[in-house]
Symmetry: C2
Subunit: 524 residues, 2 copies
């Protein structure tokens, strides 16, 4: 993928041009009139690599600046700004591209013997500092850092058509694995926003959330078994549809964010490709009414594939609504039977709670389509706005329904106040519900504000502290699906029950006794 952006989201050919950045920036008064330039890699100052790979492994390693620079950061707003400013002090010394488990074992052994940090890297789409090295955060510093890029291990190795499952290597990005499943008529049907630029292993390691809004939302529930290479040995759970034998082994590694081992493959549960689809958009006067409706849908025992509630600001920004309505985008799918009846039932529930369906047929589809396009385009727009000096980032959470409206309002008020205090002008704080469960929704907030060039990161960090504070005060999770990484450590440490923290630290010490794996993440 030579056209991956090293500094921003996705593909270079999808990034906004300078002119587009200027046009976009003009919509937010107070921004700069010229975009931050994108440095050329050859202009960048990349620190001297401190380690050289052992001869036997040398063919799998790269010390090329393009590789090291491209693996320095994830894809958060903080990462984009730092990259644009050419801040590469913590670039990994080497990037490894193993092709087999045995090579990973060799890399881990070598790293342990030299006290070299190893950061497992899938698609590099972390937005929480999950794939970067931070000297201060991992206790005693390491002698070097390896970014362990898994994307050379991207094959579907076996397909079990009868049980509808496949053994897939962890380095497969979304389109890469779907291309291999398609001839079998099957799909993993897991579509995080990062789908094109993230890997199965990354999804598993971070408990990623997919596009589908109900039922099986997290990758966790799609796992039949996993293979994990740890510094003290390799383990593979049995392929089981369900088991009650002790605590689930897979659930310890799901969400372990690379600190306990490297996930190298997994048997994943698959589905038939859906052939029947229908969707509609429903308008509500305000968020309170919309939330009642969405709760009723979530508690109805029906399981819409899509159930996304946009608050008035989000609906306006994404072009789905024009008049301050909250908008619900609801969709249903099936592989084997028509879904119009199911959609009608869901629309009845929405109507009973004051929802008005928008347009008919084509009209509704256009709204849904407008939203989807905007969803996939959003990260590129973010990068364009960042280049114009905007502070533009998201954070997400989940809580139970009894607290959801309070939380929504409290976050908008507190984060809004923080933005105004920190930046000197009011910002945009929008929200959508990305997933809904019978007992509560996942809330996804977008913040857009005018930063002072050179101060953007400090300003955003202060806004984020305010956001994390209000989430914690409501006992809303520090992350529903972005993960913890390094950025969410304070909130995570607060949220995590102490006995579990002790157990996790003990597990880390047992499996990674030299502390080489992704230091600073989840535990110290």
């Amino acid at each position: 993928m030579g056209d991956r952006s090293w500094w921003g989201w996705g593909r270079t050919d999808c990034a906004l041009s300078d002119d587009e950045c200027v046009a976009l920036g003009a919509r937010l008064p107070g921004l700069s009139s010229t975009p931050l330039p994108i440095p050329r890699i050859e202009q960048l100052v990349v620190p001297q690599a401190r380690i050289t790979p052992p001869a036997a492994l040398a063919p799998r390693f790269s010390a090329a600046p393009a590789d090291r620079v491209g693996h320095t950061y994830g894809k958060a707003y903080r990462d984009v700004v730092r990259a644009l400013h050419g801040d590469l002090a913590c670039a990994p010394d080497l990037v490894a591209y193993p092709q087999t488990d045995a090579e990973i074992v060799d890399v881990l052994d070598w790293a342990a013997s030299r006290r070299v940090a190893v950061i497992p890297y899938g698609g590099g789409s972390s937005v929480v500092g999950g794939v970067e090295y931070r000297p201060a955060s991992g206790g005693a510093d390491h002698c070097g850092v390896i970014s362990l890029d898994l994307t050379a291990m991207d094959r579907v190795l076996e397909v079990d058509r009868v049980s509808r499952a496949a053994r897939i290597q962890a380095g497969a990005r979304g389109p890469v694995l779907e291309d291999q499943l398609r001839p079998h008529g099957l799909t993993l049907r897991f579509y995080p926003q990062s789908y094109e630029f993230s890997t199965l292993g990354g999804w598993l390691a971070t408990r990623a959330g997919g596009h589908y809004a109900t039922l099986y939302t997290h990758i966790d529930d799609l796992v039949e078994s996993m293979r994990v290479v740890t510094p003290v040995g390799t383990g593979e759970s049995w392929r089981l549809p369900a088991s009650g034998a002790g605590p689930s082994p897979d659930r310890l590694f799901l969400g372990s964010e690379g600190i306990l081992g490297v996930i190298t493959e997994a048997w994943m549960r698959l589905q038939e490709r859906p052939r029947h689809k229908a969707s509609a958009t429903v308008a509500f006067e305000d968020m309170a009414a919309a939330m009642q409706a969405v709760r009723a849908v979530a508690q109805s025992g029906r399981h819409p594939a899509n159930c996304r509630l946009l608050d008035p600001g989000e609906a306006l920004l994404s072009g789905v609504a024009r008049n301050g309505e909250a908008m619900l985008v609801v969709g249903v799918e099936s592989a084997d039977c028509p879904v119009e009846g199911q959609l009608a039932e869901l629309l009845t529930i929405a109507r009973e709670h004051g929802g008005a369906r928008c347009g008919d047929g084509d009209g509704a589809d256009r709204s849904a389509e407008a939203w989807r396009t905007s969803f996939l385009r959003a990260p590129y727009l973010r990068d364009g706005l960042a280049r114009m000096g905007a502070i533009v980032e998201t954070f997400e959470t989940a809580c139970t329904w009894d607290r959801a409206l309070d939380l929504y309002e409290a976050v908008r008020a507190s984060v809004g106040a923080a933005v105004e205090e920190i930046t000197g002008s009011p910002g945009i704080i929008n929200c959508r519900f990305t997933h809904v469960y019978p007992d509560g929704p996942a809330l996804y907030f977008t913040v857009i504000a005018v930063g002072r060039r050179g101060q953007e990161l400090v300003m955003w960090d202060d806004v984020k502290i305010a956001a994390m504070e209000i989430l914690a005060r409501h006992h809303a999770t520090v992350t529903h699906h972005h993960g913890v990484g390094r950025d969410h450590r304070p909130g995570y440490d607060r949220q995590r029950p102490e006995p579990f923290a002790m157990a996790l630290r003990a597990a880390k010490a047992a499996l990674d006794p030299h502390g080489v794996l992704n230091p600073g993440v989840l535990v110290d």
Copy 2:
């Protein structure tokens, strides 16, 4: 519950009379003609208690023989036979009935200071040796044993009607918690076969499986948060509908079988009480055809509440079929809409795979009813047969669909051969599918054979070894929902990935540094 049986399943007034035992035993040629007598507690030799409780805690402890005898075993066939033979060598020295978390903390502190083993005890319905002390299995022996009975902590403490969740103490048995939820119009809707005689805490600690056959089958998925008292501190996870923050803390304690801490309460997800129900029974010529149909149902994206496949032997034994058919009992439920359409769709799938619906209306319901009655009555019949000298026990597993027919046939063949070799005559080996998933079924086997009095346990242990061997050879789980306890340790150790075993041992050492909690279970 003064009428709980101390030696056998459930309530004393539901146990078979001597005459009923004789009549039942007459149906299996070769059994004894007289039932083993039930010893009176006052006749039993109970070892002297080796410890006395500290004065401050004394009111919560009992050293009464009835308490100690009633807490010596779970309710497996092995337990019933040992109890009937008056084998009480390993009776706990004391039974504690704490009423608060603080009292549990005190008990654990005291136990740690004296190297006294503490066995958390809910309803005592373990069928895998989960609640008994075994001197050899826990490394260095303990100076005494406490059975920690949680049933004094059985209140529903809070109900959140909006999010449909409740905070429930772990010692609440099924009917006790449902009685408290009913006024709120809500239900946990979790019905293991042991429902009347097992507790929420026991379900959580063993990852119990409920009656419902698809979707949310294990208690795991109904948990919003948990509170756990460990020897090094108490932890409580936040109430969250979903989270992606690190490995799930709750999932480490779910299935931990009392070795990491004592679960004292949990916020559980509830449902509206179902008002619409429909069920039907479908006959298939053989298991191969029936399995195809059940797989199609499980992979259809529909989620029947009940989907239980009885093999020809099981269908015959439970009175659901008479002519060697495999029988599928399928049921649907909803709180808010009619379910006939859903049932019709499921029956269409069954018919496409060669199924013939049995009778109409009442006829079908009678079959379903016959099966349900037999299901709840089964443990009492087992006890009656055991008193007549029969070997009568169950074991259960799960595997993916690609292996399911092979596994079914291999278990019947191997275990059948083992029974014949060990007992000298052929036994009955029946199977039902208790739960079905898109990627595989849970298989539940019943073994009935003629034992030699006094040799029953040795004989059964040998049969069980053969069963575990064939499960392991097929990589089928050692347990789908009964748990590991002490009886399944060999199979569990074989199945569990070694890195996870290392992590679990490390977690155990961190949370229970004196090794007092349920020694011998899951880890040494």
